[in-house]
């Protein structure tokens, strides 16, 4: 079951959209739509199914069903589209200032290292002893050993118990001592493991991170590579010939697809109100001149009239039958597609319509199954039909513009014969006039003009030139413009927005009706303000389709170059995005290895690359195109695009130091170089920075496992023995017992002071003791238990004779 997506779809705009697409929506239908939707929680739960509810209520034929599906799909997609989260401005800024960001990264790297060093050195200066090993004896005190006693009062006095013991034999000769005194409390150095731990954790963490990141990156890259190989898009195949405009030349296999089959998007064409008039007129029945009696009805009526003869006639009106010939001389021309669109719409709206096409020779026609039919036979068979020809008048004339009398005579068998010509009224020549004189109803292809024609057909009337001229008052000529220059094109289009639309056609190397529709639709929708009042209407398409190079289906390279230079960046971005969308749509259905797929891949890479180069952050999904673009660029056979980019005029590529847009090679080279630097910096940072960062962090936070509370480094203290003259002679040595180890120290004979260094003694908050025992030559001793909390313990010793 679908979870509610929480989308609230305002139906009003959708119904408006459908109305503008030419679909009639009566009040009854709107009410029905509302009543159905009120009972269906579909809008919230599954907006994608909205089309299945609305379409049956609106559509009247297959074509309309498909078109409405597409319209609703597009609309729902636009409404429910996860707003492509526009990248954070900071990310965008970073993407646009790669060099500056790189410099900042280096600065950050150096800053962290300096900070770490500062922490290290400052901490060291705060506790200088840490650098001098275990001793904490101040040099000043040592000077005391020369007899200069510190006048300073003892920091702690009388707290140390002094005891004097002597062997029983020597009881009479004693060594005594006043209470010793303590001086200079030891500044304890708490134990900290920051440096080793930071180094260990830092390097270890860095190494793991390095492994994870680069291993994952490698794995991801391999996966992507495999995926790309499967999709065969962002890959650079070898040994492929260059694609040429004459793609069919490469065709070797009869089963091979050569042209990309873009999905039909005729539904995008907006129909004006004239279309409704055309449909209504053509649906009107024709009067039956001599209705035949209806036998069945007559019998029935006679019976009901108690046997009195009652003759009933068949209907006095009959449905009109139409036969349409359309010019298919250039099947890929935009005007042919537009004509076909119109004919298909007619067929869908007013079945039955018999449709035949002709190519160059109007006497040879083909039906939907490509079966050839001769004009003579058709004229005989369908003379009761209304004939509508959609094509050029020159089909009825010889090359030297003389009427083909025989052909015109055959056409005269249709009592109602009309010609809808793509030639604008203003450009009509003698040919059109001649046909008019031969009772052809001739109108230009504008919808309003066709509406006049159909009204004439429905009423079996005469087509008045004045009415036609009045209706097509805004007719424009096509002759007199130079379509080989953009200036001429601009003058013809006479509208900057329209000109930009035509410019967008230059982003794809081949002219294609379906691409044109998609591009026009996307570009118009991209900027409501700029394209206000412009829709992908039949009239707009007619104006564009009349451009001669769109008829020939070949955009001259020099015109394409000019168009590429004239297109504004915003339009180019939308156009290239649209091309990518279209290519994505046909990707699944285009067999790999075909010429068509090669075109798809080439165009995909080109467009993806150009978008990526414009904005690396927004189009990061296309970053893989950078790796293969060199291959495609070198093999590209599009002179106009190559010149345009090599002239450093493409607005999508970033600007170089000279202020010009980069070329493809320049961009790729710089990017690759830059990538290398970036990767190196990342590697270095991963290996070094964690240790520094941890060191700084520990220094600031001081966690217990790095800085254990109440634990200090061992200290060194000194015991200073202050001897009387007698003692100076008698005391021979001293023993210091600390941590269960004793050491013997020979005392200076004759000296008043002796300093005994007691190294590496534990420092605790309660205090550790060491034993100091002074010995005389005759084995008398005096022992002290000294608290090792002060740097100096000064003990005066007296000896009696």
């Amino acid at each position: 079951m679908n979870k509610p997506t929480g989308h609230i779809l305002p139906l009003g705009p959708l119904l408006e959209l459908l109305k503008s697409g030419g679909y009639e929506l009566s009040i009854q239908q709107v009410l029905e739509i509302q009543s159905v939707l009120l009972n269906t929680p579909l809008i919230q739960s599954s907006p994608g199914k909205l089309k299945f509810i609305l379409t049956p209520l609106i559509a009247k034929n297959e074509e309309e069903q498909n078109n409405i599906y597409r319209i609703i799909d597009d609309w729902v997609a636009a409404q429910t589209k996860k707003t492509i989260r526009s990248p954070h401005p900071l990310r965008l800024w970073m993407a646009r200032h790669l060099r500056l960001v790189f410099a900042l990264k280096i600065a950050g790297f150096v800053l962290i290292i300096i900070t770490g060093a500062l922490f290290y050195f400052l901490a060291d200066r705060k506790h200088p002893a840490t650098r001098k090993g275990q001793t904490s004896v101040a040099p000043a005190i040592k000077a005391d050993t020369n007899g200069t006693r510190s006048a300073k009062p003892p920091a702690t006095a009388g707290t140390t118990p002094a005891s004097s013991t002597a062997s029983p034999a020597a009881k009479a000769k004693t060594i005594t001592s006043d209470q010793g005194r303590y001086e200079r409390p030891v500044i304890p150095q708490p134990i900290e493991n920051n440096l080793p731990m930071s180094l260990v954790f830092g390097f270890l963490g860095g190494a793991i991170l390095y492994h994870l990141i680069f291993y994952e990156r490698k794995r991801k890259m391999e996966l992507e590579k495999r995926k790309r190989a499967e999709e065969a898009i962002f890959v650079a195949p070898e040994n492929e010939e260059k694609l040429t405009v004459g793609r069919e030349l490469l065709k070797t296999d009869p089963y091979e697809q050569v042209i990309l089959e873009f999905p039909s998007n005729d539904y995008l064409v907006q129909k004006s109100s004239a279309f409704a008039g055309i449909k209504n007129d053509l649906k009107k029945p024709a009067p039956v001149e001599h209705p035949a009696p209806d036998i069945k009805k007559s019998i029935h009526s006679t019976i009901r009239n108690a046997g009195f003869r009652t003759v009933k006639y068949a209907a006095e009106w009959k449905p009109r039958k139409y036969i349409i010939f359309s010019d298919n001389s250039n099947p890929d021309a935009h005007i042919t597609h537009l004509v076909n669109y119109f004919v298909e719409w007619l067929r869908a709206s007013i079945a039955p319509v018999v449709h035949y096409t002709y190519s160059l020779e109007i006497t040879l026609l083909k039906d939907g199954n490509n079966k050839v039919q001769f004009l003579e036979e058709l004229a005989q068979r369908t003379k009761d039909h209304d004939l509508i020809i959609v094509g050029y008048a020159h089909s009825f004339f010889t090359e030297d513009q003389r009427p083909r009398e025989k052909v015109i005579d055959v056409f005269s068998r249709w009592s109602s014969r009309s010609l809808i010509t793509p030639v604008p009224l203003a450009d009509w020549s003698e040919m059109e006039e001649t046909l008019k004189k031969r009772d052809f109803h001739i109108v230009p292809a504008e919808a309003d003009a066709i509406a006049i024609l159909t009204r004439t057909i429905a009423g079996d009337e005469y087509l008045h030139d004045e009415l036609l001229a009045k209706t097509t008052w805004d007719s424009y000529p096509i002759s007199g413009y130079n379509f080989q220059s953009v200036q001429g094109l601009k003058e013809y289009l006479h509208n900057e927005a329209l000109y930009q639309l035509v410019c967008s056609l230059a982003v794809y190397p081949f002219l294609n009706w379906r691409i044109t529709l998609a591009l026009f639709d996307a570009v118009i929708k991209s900027d409501g303000e700029k394209y206000a009042g412009i829709t992908v209407s039949y009239e707009l398409l007619l104006k564009v389709a009349r451009i001669p190079w769109l008829y020939r289906q070949q955009l001259p390279e020099d015109v394409r170059l000019q168009l590429l230079e004239a297109i504004d960046p915003a339009t180019e971005i939308v156009a290239r995005e649209t091309i990518l969308r279209l290519l994505n749509e046909v990707k699944e259905n285009t067999p790999k290895g075909t010429v068509a797929f090669r075109e798809l891949r080439e165009q995909y890479n080109l467009n993806a690359f150009l978008l990526y180069s414009y904005n690396r952050e927004t189009y990061k999904d296309y970053s893989a195109s950078r790796e293969v673009i060199t291959h495609y660029w070198n093999n590209l056979n599009e002179k106009a695009l190559k010149d345009h980019i090599n002239n450093q005029a493409n607005n999508l590529l970033p600007v170089n130091s000279e202020g010009k847009h980069k070329t493809v090679e320049e961009f790729v080279m710089e990017e690759e170089e830059f990538d290398k630097y970036n990767v190196s910096l990342v590697k270095l940072s991963l290996l070094i920075l964690p240790a520094f960062i941890i060191y700084i962090a520990f220094n600031i936070i001081k966690p217990a496992f790095v800085y254990p509370p109440g634990k200090y480094r061992n200290v060194s203290v000194s015991a200073i023995i202050e001897k009387t003259d007698t003692c100076a002679q008698k005391l021979t040595h001293a023993t210091v017992t600390t941590n269960g180890m004793s050491s013997r120290h020979v005392l200076k004979k004759g000296g008043r002071y002796d300093t005994i260094l007691v190294p590496d003694i534990a420092y605790t908050d309660l205090g550790e003791y060491y034993d100091l025992v002074l010995w005389t030559g005759d084995n008398r001793m005096l022992s002290f238990s000294v608290l090792a909390k002060d740097s100096f313990f000064i003990v005066p010793v007296k000896c009696s004779e």
Binding site: A59, Q65, K296, A315, N369
Partner: protein, 342 residues
């Protein structure tokens, strides 16, 4: 060729509604419910062979199996009206045997005995039930009255190939659809459908789009065009519909037909795209698959590129199988040429 094997039937036994494939996501289902909800007729178009007529049978079968207290149970079979170019509006509702009546010069029989209800008349009367029709309208003599159920029932009404109908019939149909009643002048009686909103009639109209239908008519209908099924749907349709056939054939159910059918579909699509005349549709595909089964042509090398290398006998079998798909000599020539079967 095992064409003489009469054990194999090509009958309609596998066309029963339960074998009609309708995926859960098929919009047709929701469209049917939409038509029921709005009380509007549903116009179905589509290529011949896409199952338009079968849809009505399926709808009746499916709806009759639903348990819903808000709706009177449906009849499991639809009422069917096959439109002819000569059909008149009255033909939808009842048939009056005027000739027999004319012959009954003594007038011994009641006039109702010359009347039989047609599909739409039956559907309207069934909303009331046989008992009510007899008691309220006194129509006990109607020829086919006994084919109706005693009690009111909802039903599906299929009006097949409506595009064949003359314009008058469409106009009559419009009125009757709106008013839900019909007048029998011979009896001078107007029969209206039940006012009970729980008793519904789902009207399904099919059209091959051979003739345009009036806009006013189209506006009153819901429309759905059955598109040609997707590849996945085709495989499912084949698997659904081939079940009884395979059972009858005694085919080995261990074989992975899914894979074989996909291969056959590849070839079918190739043929379909190259056909100029009438494009083969689902029903022709099913027949073709049956032939492929019978001729043991469902092999891993079933592919348009491999046919040229088939032994002569297989080529011939394949050639014959094409008759189920292609209807014109031109198409046969083209496809045989492309497949190099000649």
């Amino acid at each position: 060729m095992e064409s003489e094997n009469f054990r194999i039937a090509f009958g309609n036994y596998d066309k029963s509604p339960e074998h009609y494939y309708m995926s859960e996501t098929n919009p047709l289902k929701s469209t049917i419910f939409l038509a029921l909800k709005l009380g509007k007729p549903l116009l179905i178009t589509g290529e011949p062979g896409t199952g338009k007529t079968q849809l009505a049978y399926w709808a009746a079968w499916y709806l009759s199996a639903q348990q819903n207290t808000n709706i009177t149970p449906f009849l499991p079979q639809p009422f069917v009206f096959h439109t002819k170019s000569s059909s008149a509006g009255r033909d939808l509702f009842y048939n009056y045997d005027a000739i027999s009546h004319f012959q009954d010069k003594d007038g011994r029989k009641s006039i109702t005995e010359y009347i039989s209800l047609a599909a739409m008349g039956q559907a309207i009367c069934q909303t009331l039930g046989r008992n009510a029709i007899i008691s309220e309208y006194g129509l006990s003599g109607i020829r086919n009255i006994n084919s109706m159920r005693e009690n009111p029932q909802s039903s599906v009404l299929l009006i097949d190939e409506i595009d064949k109908a003359p314009r008058d019939l469409l106009n009559d149909l419009l009125d009757e659809i709106e008013n839900n009643k019909f007048y029998v002048p011979e009896l001078e009686k107007e029969i209206s459908r039940s006012n009970d909103r729980k008793t519904r009639t789902l009207v399904i109209l099919t059209s091959n789009s051979e003739k345009s239908l009036p806009d006013a008519f189209l506006r009153r209908c819901l429309f759905y065009h059955i598109p040609f099924p997707s590849e996945t749907d085709l495989v499912r349709i084949i698997l659904h519909r081939m079940g009884p056939f395979l059972e009858e054939m005694g085919s080995n159910s261990n074989i992975d037909f899914d894979e074989h059918y996909r291969r056959a579909l590849g070839l079918f699509h190739f043929i379909r795209t190259k056909t100029h005349g009438k494009k083969p549709s689902t029903s022709e595909l099913l027949d073709w698959i049956k032939v492929l089964h019978m001729e043991n042509l469902l092999t891993p090398d079933l592919n348009e590129k491999n046919m040229a290398y088939y032994p002569q006998e297989r080529k011939k079998a394949m050639q014959l199988s094409l008759y189920t798909l292609l209807k014109t000599k031109e198409d046969l020539d083209v496809i045989e040429g492309l497949l190099q079967l000649k």
